[in-house]
């Protein structure tokens, strides 16, 4: 099997998740070809061929130009699988490439066995096992699902390529997050409020437990989006990645993006009425209870 891996650079730097692509190809024991837009001074380590497009000439992500580069390399290499990371880059570009190739696409692949791909469904409560019916298959893989077992080594053989496809969307600039304010990455204890907390008025209950434990208040995405808690408290892919000694998830269902931001916590307690919630997969303890009853009880017992 031959796999084309599409690497990710941003703001002139190779992103670490690129090595997840190599981990995936190694799991399949496949021949690796990679395409990346970047710089010769900063290339991924692996044994194989690297098609490198000059980042200075191409600029930041440009869907039309990047799509053309992928299609050109597909034509030269005839890979069976074209693999992206499931990221803002991958989920934007993969369907464009798949449509051009009349290939099927599987999104956020978390496992591969016997020629079939496993993807999460229904907010990650369930799994679907899928099989491609097209000659080529395009996939995005979940970041963290295929981390390399060993440190990647090797120096790829580089072939320079370019694209002059004009784009109908115009990148203007990047915008950094506003005042980060709170640094959750150094917190030893985090008590996180999820959607199950119900409403903004209930946040003080969660805050009180965090205060009692001498920890910080965290928030899941819906809680931050609804402005129940300031965005600077958000844990997850688009928020902060944390690894405290104790993480208490209160009414957090455990969307994949949230799990990616907290699963390295040393000890995880989930408080939830739903035993099927995905947060329970990473939890050390699941307390099956109503957050609004259990959390105040726990806080008062800690006095």
């Amino acid at each position: 099997m031959k796999i084309l891996l599409v690497g990710e650079y941003r703001e002139n730097k190779l992103l670490d998740v690129t090595y997840d692509l190599i981990g995936f190809a190694d799991k399949l024991e496949a021949d690796k070809v990679m395409l990346a837009v970047g710089y010769e001074e900063d290339i991924p380590k692996f044994d194989g061929k690297l098609y490198l497009a000059d980042a200075k000439a191409l600029g930041e992500y440009n869907p039309s130009a990047h799509k053309q580069l992928v299609l050109d390399v597909v034509e030269k290499e005839n890979p069976d699988l074209i693999v992206f990371i499931h990221s803002s880059f991958g989920w934007d570009l993969a369907p464009r490439v798949a449509t051009s190739l009349k290939a099927t696409q599987f999104t956020e692949v978390i496992d591969y066995k016997d020629n079939s791909f496993i993807v999460p469904s229904c907010n990650s409560k369930l799994r679907r096992e899928l099989k491609s019916k097209t000659a080529k298959t395009v996939i995005t893989i979940q970041a963290g699902a295929f981390t390399p077992l060993t440190e990647a080594l090797g120096t790829p053989e580089i072939e320079n390529i370019s694209s002059d496809a004009s784009s109908n969307v115009n990148f203007v600039a990047y915008e950094e997050a506003e005042e980060k304010g709170l640094d959750l990455t150094k917190a030893e204890i985090i008590v996180t409020a999820g959607r199950g907390v119900g409403k903004k008025d209930n946040i003080p209950i969660i805050q009180a437990l965090a205060d009692k434990l001498g920890g910080e208040l965290g928030a899941s995405r819906p809680v931050a989006d609804n402005a129940w808690v300031d965005q600077s408290h958000q844990v997850g892919t688009t928020g902060q990645t944390v690894s405290p000694k104790l993480y208490i998830a209160c009414g957090v269902s455990g969307a994949i993006q949230h799990l990616a931001g907290m699963k390295k916590s040393e000890f995880i307690v989930a408080v939830n009425t739903d035993k099927d919630a995905p947060i329970n997969e990473v939890a050390d303890i699941l307390v099956v209870a109503d957050v609004l009853q259990f959390v105040p009880a726990l806080t008062s017992k800690l006095s």
């Binding site: 941003r10 115009n170 209870a289």
Partner: protein, 255 residues
């Protein structure tokens, strides 16, 4: 300006799902349905644009069986002007390219300036349909927008990872897929629910539109096996609190 909003009806994600007899999707009975959360942001953005400009006509479109009319009615009550139901009882086994083909075939001769949709559905999570529609219609697409501004041209912010956003300018026609937090979706008011009953809702049989064959098949649909590591505590709340404190004292260094 003509705007199309593509929505999907999905089960409440808190539901207790049962796998269907074919092992390829969930059993659709006994579930409460609602508008896909991401799509509510798409509806709201279209309605806000209508409130900003005087000449905006918003069509909401939904593919699915008869039950999706409920979702369509809510979108009309939120402020969309008219609706199209592409009736398809088999939509749950159609892949993203097939669903996108139906939408693109419907939209191809209607000259929509902006097509809004959610960045993904909560049940399938493929994040493909909007992007494929743009490819089939050969128009621009910006996915995962977390900010939208119309001021002659369109400026959006794409949400990237780790708090970073990219600012992008784009002209119409364009497909924009919406991320959570883009705006605050409104609740329909009672007068608007009443008004919605009089709005146009046309139904088209999906067989009247062109769609390709499925490019993949679902071999299995299942609950993942529990990792087995987690200890489940159930029972009386005060006792649960005592048990948890005892465990935290034993297993962690923080208490």
């Amino acid at each position: 300006m003509k705007v199309l909003v593509c929505i999907k009806q999905v089960p409440d994600m808190e539901s207790k799902f049962k796998v269907n007899a074919q092992n390829n999707w969930f059993d659709e009975n006994d579930l409460a349905y609602r508008i896909n959360e991401y799509d509510e942001y798409a509806i709201e953005q279209a309605v806000q644009l209508k409130e900003q400009l005087s000449d905006v006509d918003v069509t909401v479109l939904c593919v699915g069986p008869a039950r999706v009319k409920e979702a369509i009615k809510k979108a009309l009550a939120m402020g969309c002007d008219r609706a199209v139901h592409i009736e398809d009882t088999e939509s749950y086994i159609k892949d993203s390219s097939q669903v996108a083909s139906l939408i693109a075939d419907f939209a191809k001769d209607k000259s929509y300036d902006i097509i809004f949709t959610g960045m993904q559905s909560q049940d399938r999570g493929s994040a493909q349909v909007g992007v494929i529609v743009s490819e089939l219609l050969n128009i621009a697409c910006v996915s995962t927008i977390a900010d939208f501004e119309y001021n002659e041209g369109i400026t959006v912010k794409r949400e990237l990872e780790g708090g970073l956003k990219s600012i992008i300018k784009v002209d119409t026609p364009v497909v924009l897929t919406c991320q959570l937090g883009l705006n605050t979706p409104r609740y329909p008011t009672l007068p608007n629910i009443m008004k919605a009953k009089k709005k146009e809702l046309i139904t088209i049989d999906s067989l009247e539109l062109s769609s390709s064959d499925s490019l993949n098949e679902t071999l299995n649909f299942y609950y993942p096996q529990k990792s087995g590591g987690s200890l489940i505590l159930e029972g009386d709340v005060p006792e649960l609190a005592d048990k948890l404190i005892a465990i935290l004292k034993e297993k962690t260094s923080v208490l």
